[in-house]
């Protein structure tokens, strides 16, 4: 009797445990589904709007598989400003990435090795561009350079230093995380004791072991440049985001297809770099 009672108690407590676990999972799943709908629904809508040659009022469940075409995108490719603006934005991205890395890697290493107490201050300074609106930044820059160095503002490449500042909050964090992930001091000392100069130590030891964070940092920088609108518009530079926006004004379907093109392109790049650096990142983790 007592045994059967205890068995039934344990069965019911097992059931309630299962129910509790199921309910416990429901909350996070609900959040996940809501988030997915929030992000995926607009993307699906954009894709249908961009690549289905059907009037918008007729876009419903019944027309889900009708008249799909890449025409809006191929037409955008044929626009006279498509390739020049894309080329300019890619060049600006490359320049920004180069200068950002050239500035931040030595700075991060120097702060880590020689001025560890200044780490908090440097972090604070790198966050500042995040709290200063781009319009305020560009207004200040224009007000200063227009009377003093107009030639600087006339060049398309005047955007590069501004983009470097804009990208700082993201890029410094990534580089700093890369430096913290390895025992920089010991690796530097080991390399130096084995006869390597500072540049050789940087090239053969530090950069290869920070590659994952360097690539992440470069990618974040490029993403900032390829999506930046305010500064380019204010300084009247015809970059890819400006072209996309203007094109959207003229041909809404084409503009959306360009936005999707950029999204897919950057996501593919991110995926590629993640795959490339995964092995290296794994090697950086020491297990015993």
């Amino acid at each position: 009797m007592a045994t059967s009672m205890s068995m039934s108690t344990s069965t019911s407590s097992g059931r309630s445990e299962k129910r509790r676990r199921r309910l416990g999972r429901l909350g996070p799943n609900l959040v996940l589904i809501t988030a997915a709908v929030f992000f995926i629904a607009p993307l699906v809508s954009m894709t249908r709007f961009a690549f289905q040659t059907i009037p918008m009022v007729k876009l419903g469940w019944s027309t889900l598989f009708d008249r799909w075409s890449l025409k809006s995108l191929t037409e955008a490719f044929k626009e006279p400003f498509f390739w020049p603006t894309l080329a300019l934005s890619l060049k600006l991205a490359a320049g920004t990435v180069f200068i950002t890395l050239a500035l931040l890697i030595p700075t991060g290493l120097y702060v880590h090795l020689r001025l560890p107490k200044a780490r908090g201050l440097v972090e604070f300074l790198t966050v500042l561009p995040y709290v200063v609106p781009p319009i305020a930044l560009v207004a200040g820059v224009a007000a200063f350079f227009r009377p003093n160095a107009r030639w600087f503002l006339n060049s398309n490449y005047s955007l590069v230093p501004l983009y470097v500042v804009m990208a700082l909050p993201f890029t410094y964090r990534s580089i700093d995380a890369g430096i913290r992930a390895i025992d920089v001091r010991t690796l530097v000392d080991a390399s130096r004791s084995l006869g390597a100069s500072w540049p050789a130590t940087l090239r053969r030891v530090l950069l290869p072991n920070m590659s994952a964070s360097i690539i992440a940092s470069a990618f974040l920088t490029a993403t900032v440049v390829l999506g930046e609108f305010t500064i380019a518009r204010t300084l009247a530079k015809n970059t890819f985001p400006i072209f996309s926006f203007d094109y959207f004004g003229r041909k809404a379907q084409g503009g959306i297809s360009l936005a999707l093109f950029t999204l897919v392109g950057t996501t593919a790049l991110l995926g590629f770099f993640t795959l490339v650096t995964r092995g290296k990142a794994r090697r950086q983790v020491t297990r015993f």
Partner: protein, 353 residues
Amino acid sequence: MTALIYGAVRKTFGTNVALEGLDLALTTGELVSLLGPSGCGKTTALRIAAGFERADSGTITVAGKDITNLAPHKRNMGMVFQGYSLFPNLTVEGNVEYGLRTRKVPAEERRRRVGEMLELVQLSTMAKRYAHQLSGGQQQRVALARALAIKPEVLLLDEPLSALDAKVRATLRDEIRRIQTELGITTLFVTHDQEEALAISDRVGVMSDGKLEQLGAPTEIYRHPASAFVARFVGSMNQLPASVLGPDAVQVAGMTVATTAGAGLATNQQVRLLVRPEDLALVEENAGLPGSVTATTFQGTSTIVAVRLDALDALVSVHTRGASAAAITLGERVVVGIDGTRAVCEIVTEDAA
């Protein structure tokens, strides 16, 4: 012939004096350990030899050449670090080859040397592995091979065993000594572990507050400590309140102990007599100080007996051997005899008293 000489090396960090005029000379092929508590300056001394820190004053000489102001990468020093220092992006052989590449050694010679070094540390089968695929002990062996591959003039070991577990530590410690002896390489070994230092060194330098308290063979350091600090830091030590009777005797709780430890001190000077557990013995009645056994620790070949002395109300450890020692029971009345031959006297200051 001397291989490495510290000449009155002084180093400060702000107001903290890390090294106070260190004088030390290592002869070719010997292994000298710098032993001391954290912050005593031992690692600073090693880093100054490696070139990672600059001395405020004094000189560092290697094989007769002054290298005090030479950059680290221009000194021919091999170093093994406390933390795991293998380059994660390189394989084991890539790591060992690193120093040879920086010296632009031809490929054929590099391959041969890497093979030799990996054989020396018995890791030839792991040449293609990365650091994360090795255990801590294996990583330190590779680090040792990497440091030795460049044929350094001096090998610097900065607590290379401290991150390892006890068993691996003991094995690697012996392996380091075997390799060092085999290659005859002058080695400076920094450690806070007295057992490690005493086990593998030709000479041990005990440091405290930036100063070298004593430099000597392990047995000399253990048996004839030059100061109370060395006596306390190396091995375990009993402390007994005593007063000086003369140059060859002190009195402990009314019992006269023959020792020269009080030589040079005034008669009736209050001191602490520092005596090792193995210099205390359980003796016949009237030949020592009576007390009760409070604990026994069996250690295989010997037994440590803790005795509370009646006259001093102080606890002492007695190192005993033989079958009778194992039969001692808790609370048993015993008599503790003191052999003062190797004892050290420490003056009791008013504050300490």
